[in-house]
């Protein structure tokens, strides 16, 4: 099944792929079958004719190299490429853990343990994320349209998806950051329909929670 990605500013990117759903909430990632595929028991995992690859940034870079997609996603010029590598490294120790923690404390843990939200821990996590967002804006975005320069890159995809996660709990972490909100709109525009398609499950979780209130 091919997914067509259409967006306003860039040429149509079509990468032939098949999606295999792994429902984390059902523990699909802990089955012996999946563990053999990925002993880290995590998603995403890519399988390309027997070649198994984990880590979303590695997968995206592999797809860029293999399919010769538009250069802006991961520029070839050394300094521009280095900027993307710099963000993807920093992402692991900042954006990802700090945004994930908010989601985990506000949505995942309470759902899994049927217990109330630990408000104190959540408050600290939100505060830590706010610090990281400040750095994201001042160290990376600065006055640029995108995190690594004039055009959207895989760095923007990593960041925006991480920052969308707390929306599952109805929380817009960018509420206090107009600059980052504008950046997010630009990324959405660059990605087009694929943005909402990728977030369909997240939106469903958010909407179910809202309906319960």
């Amino acid at each position: 099944m091919s997914l067509e990605l259409q967006n306003q500013n860039h040429t149509v990117d079509i990468l032939p792929h098949t999606v295999r759903h792994v429902a984390l909430r059902r523990g699909d990632h802990r089955t012996p079958e999946f563990s053999q595929l990925n002993p880290m028991q995590k998603v995403p995992v890519m399988v390309d004719n027997g070649f198994v690859l984990t880590e979303s940034d590695a997968i995206m870079k592999y797809l860029v190299n293999k399919y010769d997609v538009p250069e802006h996603w991961y520029p070839r010029q050394p300094e521009r490429r280095a900027r993307v590598d710099e963000y993807t490294a920093w992402h692991h120790t900042h954006t990802r853990p700090h945004a994930a923690k908010v989601f985990i404390l506000e949505v995942l843990l309470p759902a899994q343990t049927s217990s109330p939200v630990d408000e104190e821990r959540l408050s600290r996590a939100v505060s830590q994320l706010d610090d990281t967002l400040e750095k994201l804006e001042s160290m990376f975005l600065r006055r640029q349209p995108f995190l690594c320069g004039d055009d959207v890159t895989v760095a923007d995809l990593l960041a925006v998806c991480e920052l969308m996660q707390p929306e599952a709990g109805g929380r817009d972490v960018l509420q206090q950051s107009p600059q980052l909100q504008r950046w997010k709109s630009r990324v959405r525009a660059a990605v087009g329909d694929a943005f909402d398609q990728a977030h369909a499950v997240l939106y469903a979780v958010r909407d179910r929670r809202r309906a319960k209130l």
Binding site: P39, M40, F51, L53, T54, E55, S56, D57, A58, K61, Y62, N65, K66, P78, E79, R81, A82, R83, D85, E86, T88, A89, W90, H92, T93, R96, P97, K135, S138, M139
Partner: protein, 251 residues
Amino acid sequence: MQGVCSAAAAMAVELYLDLLSQPCRSVLIFAKKNNIPHEVKQVSLMDGEQHREDFGKVSLIRKVPALQDGDFCLAESPAILLYLARKFKTPDHWYPADLQQCARIDEYLSWQHCAIRLHGSKVFWLKLMIPEVLHVEVPKEKMDAAVEELNGSLKLLEEKFLQDRPFIAGDHISLADLVAIVEVMQPVAAGLDVFGGRPKLSAWRDRVQAAIGKELFDEVHQTVMGSQERVKVMDGSKLEFSKAKILKFFM
């Protein structure tokens, strides 16, 4: 920032390093091994030099290692290593053109942040720096838990990233092995016997050291390997300003 004057030195990249830091070591080993013209600028983390105004101009992110190449400034060791490999056209095996091999390296460089790097650092701080320099007692359960986490990462390094290969990406040393080895050495420097009972890991370490050159490896690791001795005479007040942050992060 002050520029360098001579023509040869003008080609040199500036590397801002503190060799106590694991990623600084991988960058220095890479630069020296490949004869990349470079100038080392020491940044002492213990003395808080990363907070200096002039360093902020080199690294907005205020971390070491940092690279300055003319007007171009860069942080994060995987980014710096890749930049140096591409710019100075180092031998292919460090980051092969082969699609699958370089994907393996990207995969490792990505995974390691929240695995070996995190767990090895934690053991270094909990076993050595926090008790000996900050004079804060570390509860046994916390120490044991940290070692368990490190064991888990080491197991994945052996079973998923190495498997039956001599090096992570295949037959030759690459950036992945370089980044891995400096992180594995950190808990070793704190006195943890990481290699005992791990023949596969030990054999890999021997191959990596041989590929780098034992002399270069030891030279770059001299500072950190002297940690256990140094903490006996170290002035603990140096770390007071970041004590709360350190305790919050590791404990």
